[in-house]
Amino acid sequence: MTKEELKQILTETIPGATLDESGEWLNMSVDAPGWAATAAQLRNHTVLNFDYLFCLTCVDWKTHLTMVYHLTSTSHRQPLVVKIQLDRNQPTIDSVSGYWLTANFHEREVYELFGVQFTGHPDLRLLILPDGWEGKNPLRKDFEDPVNMIKL
């Protein structure tokens, strides 16, 4: 499958998506509501068959948060980057740990570092940070820690 064919299929199957080809990989922006259904389509579509989630992370843009999912397929090897903008004050998004098992730990990491709530996650608790860090979100740009942090 070529990138053009992938683009073609994506515009047909996911009508609400905005595609962006400026980077090396194909970028797709979708809305947060209905992300679980979109993820299911990407995962279970016979041709798209995105069966490998190789990166799940979040970016704090100070005005909003962006969830970033890097997907690829073991059958056609075309990578796809899915970006979803979230409200910074109430970041909530569907969990995809049912479609890609690796998302379980990655979503827990994003939850502890950025405070994103993943609805439908089976076990949403701190992954690496020790107890007592609930709700502090140290990777947010406005995070303050006067004890451990030396500001530059």
């Binding site: 140290p138 451990n148 030396i150």
Partner: protein, 193 residues
Amino acid sequence: MTTASADNNTAKETTGAAGTEFPGQVHPTPGGGILVSKLDDVINWARSNSLWPLVFGTSCCAIEMMSTASARYDWSRFGFEVARATPRQADVIIIAGTIVNKMAPVLKRLYDQMADPKYVIAMGACATSGGPFFYNTYSVVKGADHVIPVDVYIAGCPPRPEALLHAMLALQEKIRRGLTREQIRMQKPEQSF
């Protein structure tokens, strides 16, 4: 190490360029020789030539440490070959990498489990001062010497294997030169380290 000038080489043979020779003086007598030395010197000489490092690496400095251990740089030339995976058999801990707040109690426990005499090398910028993580970081300890005492510091991010070898030789020199931390502590019981 500075070496003696060429014409003095033969006269300085007993002290040696690298200082690895047996400490003491040989008085030649007919039918053999008499060796005069101090027990402390002999013990320190023996210790410095058989330092067993702990297998401990927390980030990219550990890659350089592994490189130093393997064939190209080969720290076994200086008596470091037996890297031990248990602190109870190790003499020196090379802090190869970033120490975070969550790791600090583990490092302290490992150090406490090592038998005296024990030595610490802080390898690289992170172990020395926090390095690139000094500012705006919530998790990194700003220097491993906040947790355990350090004998030798190495600059670099990460330091090259040559730098680590130099630090190890410096540690050997330090051990040969004088008393260990424990010996100093025994001499001055009122002082706490």
